[in-house]
Symmetry: D2
């Protein structure tokens, strides 16, 4: 076994974290209980670039218990929980190359390290691993891969269209039980949690600007409102903008919103959603946070270029003083605020995503050699199975269609 | 010109209704202003089976002003606004065959009547017109059609799959600016409005059961909660059930919900979502309403078979006394409560649907002879154009992507 | 028996209305069942100026069944339900002097008529009856009175302070089970219901301005938000304004709000909350409604003075065209929109108010001659009894304090 | 100067905390700017038992800058921020006797220490200081005091009624700008923040039981709903229970709620709101937190008596394993979860409370010797001044009444 982590002595604390996560990931645990018996992944080498959190730990452990050889690196330089990394190494024999506070060089070094395990299956969060494999032509042994994020799927689809994609990838992000839950409910809550841990501000009475109204943005907007904020949405798509209006939010351009916001959270998947020019318009005390995958949404360099001085006033809260004395607060260096300043998604949503991940890995292994090198949606039967496992675990009984109803839904000849 | 309506002398009242609708349909009005000049539908015969409301009136008028010959029948025996029908005949020369309170015989007679106009384009709401045309092989002259509802689209897709569909149909229902708005925001509000007009009950403090958690169901659930109701969702899809739970609703089977609900609203698109057996479990005073297209969701016959007597206690509110004295209230005979007991969708949402309808008709006419006999989604450029027209009319300025941002969203090689 | 009503032949329809109300007024019905046996009001003459609705009908019937002689007049020229008035006369022998559409002269004539019954107890809604009695010195025989509204209580307290009040009055409005429920939940829903019946507009996406953030205003604001509106609050009290902000609403001056609102609802209890100057700033299509007791909150005369023409475009919706072509819509002549354009409060909230009324009348009769001529709050035991009756009727079980807990809540010596 | 704190070297970090708080306490800062000039508290000795947080630091600094001699102790053994304590000592010469993790003995020792400063004014949070002074007859020199909490005010009112209160106390808790904001918005958000920091659970989809529906309880209930929880309210008052129902919450007895809750938060002000018997009914994984002042609301001893083992699984999260294997998680030892596991109220709400505190202290000093030994509400002019200062700082313009409107609101003779 190989590893490069912060401190192996943190393993016990990490183990308690894993237990806590397991308590809140009942769907994945029921999959784990099943595949632990059959070992359908015996001998399969799996490499994963994911946020190294306690939930990823439960996923890695699940794959390991099913027989796989597992190697992990971090998908974000700030998101690794060092105690969990230690527990995975010490108690479960997982090869981990990750620590909180990696440099960009470390980051790519660790990805490189993973590939030495000659994985048959790769799991990625953002698409950097897939990109690395393609750029370095390391896809010879590959059964296929998975991708966790919207951002990553967009990149992979671009590769598919350019006909450079070399192995099949299951877009876990596109599972209903992923994108309808993880992005909206997970990031919706945890991004705000990250902001509160960094700042301890009161949301009630604040003018909150949510930049981007995709699933992440609408989750954040809904929770900010639920905490008493006045919420303004900035969005470039007319369809989404209209939806935001109908849900009672104010919609305006970023330039207008910049002047009145107290708190700004970006979730666009695009660069410089908040630009230097926007920052120039902001009020004294404005707080900037990013909930999108990459740290490109807020123009951090632009902000720094106009600041006369800066200091960390609270952990993850950096004060920038502009030349006229206005103070602008940047959270977590513009990186994913829920991971950097908080603990990332609650285990309950990762339960859904990672149940899809686990079942998708099984599917790829089973189908090895039979799938075209394309981006695939998660098969509906996997998606629905995950939902059923979760509902059962929550003790919820849903309606069953009668035979008559099943028949009816197939008919078209009935009239008024 | 031909017509069969209730009373031509209602035309003036109907005209005021049309003016009121026009005030709240700014997107369609801007289309009207444009095509009134060019007359792109000169000489085209159009037949439509739609709810004959003031908004449909504005659509029919728009097509007429663009040069078309227009004939209308009702898509529901109870939904015709007789004054609007009169105004369309008297002031705009539209051939209307519809009145409130048609028999089932009348209903099909009127559909038959429409076909005498040898339409090139047909517009339908529910699929009965398309079914009639196919059953009677009247599709010779047809450039194509449109379909307004989920129910209709399901029927047409079944026809497409059975390879019996004979002309292209644009599924207006599938436009983002239709299904994301009309079903959720339109029916969400108007179904409750219909219930309140029929009953004047207080929603606050009531246990409200929403049966079906599609777009209609979630619109209704959200508005009932917004009025202070405790909302229970009944749903057969595990994915939707899980989503309802995450949005804070209780989820249970219909059998369990039947015992505790004060108000039940169905929106499943399926039959007997509320069955006789469910009704047998209900509390004294339970109120039943349907917000789905067809009057099959509540087992009305079943209810009547177990009632020892019944009477209309308020307009659209029928009291059924069960043998043990419990009273069950059925609204609007189990037909669409927002149309039967209320005025149907507010003009503002129909503005979106009918802008899609108008632009889809223009598209069909322009493409005549070039489209396969399939069910098509509304072209994205139409969909986005409708959203932009609406936003402009509301005075909302959305964000514009910079060149850099447009470029970025096409890239995949950028990393962390 | 004497009466002056619209049409006695409407009695049967009115009777069904009363039955419907009784179904939704379980607390008052349980009081009725009790006092019907003991007849504690035998021979007592009671005069009431109330909105003559089905719920008032149930209250009047309750007092009558308890032995009283009851005479009713309307507290608002537009709020009488003529069929209910007929049923009260025909089936219950109640002396009713009220019809929908009274002139101001009729209104005072009917109040005068009531006093011929030499009432011992008077019930009022707004304070006009109490004012009339004092101005005409008709208080000789009086045991006391009740007052239903905030407005009326303010007037009576002014009388108390000027030492001109001549008999004790119980401020039913001040009961927790009245003002915390009736104004907020009752008017909150029914004012919007009135607006929807008058206009059928879509609330979602509208900029809604709520003028006044007392209990009525906050009820309306909360429900408008629940229906998808963007809600702006206008308020003169800094305490209430701050509360509105913390609950996520925008707060601004009326002048600023006037420029951007689509829908305005007043609930200030004050005059010209919307003045002519404000109206001059409004957008084409703005809709004005009042939810306060008196029709003074919108400057109707001012609006008419600047309109070049006006017409009723829909029932209760009057279009005013300004000189520059902008159209302003006034609902229900600026009178209480929930009563004039809708059916007033749902029975469920009136159940609480009128249970307090009934128990307060019993209290006054029992205490005759022992109470100073002051304004009294509803005794707490009555207030709590009403809440318990309601909860029992709804099948809700609340927590019971243990002995230990009752003791603890009396202590102060326990420390950390 | 005297002090007893954890570590004076933490002062710099504490200073940054104070600066951050000052940024979010604009109302108190504007008071500070004013009284710093006039020094109206020159030479006055003030002792305060408050949570030693950054906000309390700003208050203490304000009093000091106004000329007072200030001594502080902690109102809760777990709530002291040691860095803030250090900064107050080092940079502002305030006598602080407080550290995180005091024993009960320390706690009373520190209170005793304060009294050596012979204070003329005492400020308390919970009533322990007032109780101590009275039990030890140390009230000779006293101009008066203030009390921050509901709990404390209840204790003081009991003392007033028993005629043992020896100096006037201003119930800061009863200021509108305190109890309508601090308890509801402050604890509403921060209690949930504390739960999330301790557990990182997902609120969406959880069954959350709020025990007690006073201002704290309703704040928590509203925010839990806003985060997607299904919220059940347990309440012993029929009036509050009915209000909770009308706001759409489920209401039931604690015994019933115990069986279905995932998360329980107490806010009753009473003992054993969650008893051992209730815990015996709970599901595996249930989480218990307290948001009430004292750690008596959850029967911690009872829980420990039935646990076969316990361990801290995460900071502030203690796992208790029952004999049948069920795991129950107690947060922060049942102490105030927002203070113990989080950072207490956001500065923004403390801005209101502490502006009232500062102005009340000025009032007491000014009125020394003229006030009876009673519990007083905050004078309305102070209350409204605080609200106006806050609104000004937020840039909000509220409506101004016209002369005509001021006149009208005094009148009672106007009629319909």
């Amino acid at each position: 076994m190989q590893y490069k982590i912060k401190d192996i002595s943190l393993a016990e604390a990490g183990h308690a974290q894993l237990e806590w996560a397991e308590m809140h990931m009942p769907a994945l645990m029921s999959i784990q209980r099943e595949i632990e018996k059959n070992k359908p992944l015996s001998g399969v080498s799996i490499a994963a670039v994911l946020h190294i959190t306690k939930e990823t730990g439960v996923l890695a452990k699940t794959l390991k218990l099913a027989g796989a050889k597992v190697a992990l690196a971090a998908s974000n330089p700030l998101s690794t929980q060092d105690d969990v990394a230690a527990a995975l190494v010490k108690y479960y024999g997982i090869n981990v190359f990750a620590w909180k506070g990696e440099t960009e060089e470390d980051y790519y070094e660790n990805i490189k390290k993973l590939m030495e395990f000659k994985p048959e299956v790769v799991m990625d969060d953002g698409g950097d691993l897939h990109a690395y494999i393609h750029q370095n032509e390391l896809f010879q042994n590959m059964a296929g891969g998975t991708e966790e994020t919207t951002t990553g799927v967009i990149r992979l689809k671009a590769m598919e269209q350019e006909k450079v994609l070399k192995y099949p990838v299951i877009a876990v992000n596109n599972a209903f039980t992923k994108y309808l839950f993880d992005n909206r409910f997970g990031t919706g809550q945890s991004a705000i949690d990250g902001v509160l841990r960094a700042t301890n501000i009161l949301i009630a009475g604040k003018t909150c600007v949510v930049v981007g109204y995709g699933w992440v943005g609408r989750g954040i907007a809904s929770r900010l409102r639920g905490l008493g904020g006045r919420v303004i949405v900035v969005e470039a798509s007319p369809l989404r903008a209209l939806e935001a209006i109908m849900e009672g939010f104010e919609v305006m351009s970023m330039r207008e919103a910049a002047k009145i916001g107290d708190l700004f959270i970006t979730a666009t998947g695009n660069i410089r959603a908040i630009s230097k020019d926007h920052i120039m318009e902001m009020k004294d005390g404005a707080i900037l946070a990013n909930a999108g995958h990459f740290n490109v949404e807020i123009d951090v360099e632009g902000l720094r270029s106009i600041a006369t001085r800066r200091r960390t006033i609270r952990p993850f809260t950096e004060e920038h003083v502009l030349s006229d004395g206005r103070r602008i607060y940047l959270l977590a260096d513009g990186r994913l605020v829920n991971l950097a300043a908080g603990e990332g998604h609650p285990s309950e949503v990762m339960d859904l995503s990672f149940s899809n991940q686990a079942l998708s890995v099984l599917y790829i292994v089973k189908k090895k050699g039979t799938l075209e090198p394309k981006v695939y949606d998660v098969p509906t039967e996997i998606d629905e199975r995950v939902a059923r496992l979760k509902l059962e675990a929550m003790g919820i009984k849903i309606e069953e269609l009668t035979k008559e109803q099943v028949e009816y839904s197939k008919q078209w000849k009935y009239g008024t």
